[in-house]
Amino acid sequence: MTSLMDKCAVTGIGETAYTKNSGKSVVALQMEASLKAIADAGLKPTDIDGVIPYGSLEVVAEEFITNLGLQDLRFSAVTPLGGASAVAAIQAAVSALVAGVANHVLIPIGRNGSSGERIGARAAAMPQFRTVGEYEMPSGNIAPPQLYAHMARRHMEMYGTTSRQLAEIAVTVRSNAILNDNAVMQKPMTIEDHQNSRMISDPLRLFDCCLESDGGAAVIISRAEQARDLAQRPIYIMGVAEGHPDSPSTITQRPDMTTLGTAKAAPRAFGMAGVSHKDIDVAEIYDCFTYIVMCQLEDLGFCKKGEGGDFVSNGRIALDGELPINTHGGLLSQSHIIGMNHVCELVKQLRGNAGKAQVANAEIGLVTGYGDMGDGAVAIMRN
């Protein structure tokens, strides 16, 4: 089997301003981010011959042909894994690029998640949520904070995990956001602030939950030999994989509700990359909820199942810690751009231009996506 290791690179990234009210259409946000990514790579819009739109938003491949004047789009696909879509799209892009189907694949995401329709309003209409819609929503188990609270409570009861340990994640990520001019949340947060935030669905408090945001972000993936001739230092994709959990359509029926699809993706991504956990200098972990960060760190293999609470404590995940995470402020405190902001941040870290949150000597990093009740995706990159 052909290894995809180092065959492709991220060649361009683009981000709009992240806000609570963009005043722009979703199409406009995605085009703005895409044009920035194309310019960042040193490409022309007409060089783009592959696009992977986000499967659950209204912007389809045709919009990119029309707006960017693409003459010969040769590859399009969607990766409908909710918040894991952006990283799963990297796997799809790399597969198409290595097969020679396309040369430069654009992966755009953009939304008015704050000023437009909220996630809770949309979820019931998504086919991935049909089962929950039929059997759980009538009883009141409706939105992600509730669905994931069952997972978090189970973890707490099995392993002694505490709300204060989840607070470590929220506080760390907030402190990173404060270093970032393009982060929505700028007010410092303490553990006590987290503990005093209102209960949403026990054990998840308000500060365990991510933002809902307006904004757009996009990346360009190209083959390595072409990447070397473009405008930026190529950020090579060493390993990438997606994983789907057992009982993907309902957490209720999942044999172990404390294990995500990430646990299946991680060994494949690390195996392809040929690196170990000690080699990871920085990690951008999809953070729709604090608990989901902790659970992914376990499923990724940074610690054993049940040890996540201890792992995230004592400064280990801080900017100057053993494994700095979510250096941009994440979904919790920068913006909810469905994790494409995580991909852009990892690229910035490995280019060495992550500003005040730059991790010293970052050479190898990891980014995850997580979504739709358990889908996981993992990419490992190097400079």
Binding site: S139, R153, D202
Partner: protein, 141 residues
């Protein structure tokens, strides 16, 4: 006039009708929960679906459930994610391991949040939401 007027005062989410699951919802209306079981290999499955993932048979049968189980996990919801639940907060939802080996998520009655424990025995009960919809709830066994 036949009595087929829909209940227009019920303001909570309704389950969409589904051929594969109709016997389950009908069993709740009868206050006698039944679960889907493979007619060939006997594996019990929930939520209802057309294929047995153990032997790939599409022949199904429906068995009367014991209605007994143990708490697997829970959440106490303090925020109304649907306007229909504004008057029901806080909402106590439990995931229950049924004795048949599958799980059900439903509201729990007669237990305070701080009394909930993993492994606590519970039994199913039924609440008629509308003339056409009965929901399962759990009570301490």
């Amino acid at each position: 006039m036949s009595n087929t007027m829909p209940d227009t005062t019920y303001d909570k989410p309704m389950p969409p009708l589904n051929r594969d699951s109709k016997p389950f919802w009908d069993s709740l209306k009868d206050h006698a929960m039944r679960l889907q079981r493979c007619a060939d290999c006997g594996k019990v499955r929930h939520y209802p679906r057309p294929v047995c993932d153990s032997c790939y048979s599409m022949e199904v049968d429906w068995m009367r459930a014991s209605g007994r189980g143990k708490i697997h996990s829970w959440t106490i919801t303090h925020h109304a994610f649907h306007p229909g639940f504004l008057g029901n907060l806080p909402l106590a939802l439990v995931t229950v391991d049924l004795d048949e080996g599958v799980r059900i998520c439903a509201q729990i009655r007669d237990l305070a949040p701080d009394q909930l424990r993993v492994g606590m025995p519970v039994r199913v009960d039924y609440e008629d939401a509308t003339a056409d919809l009965t929901l399962p709830v759990f009570r301490p066994a």
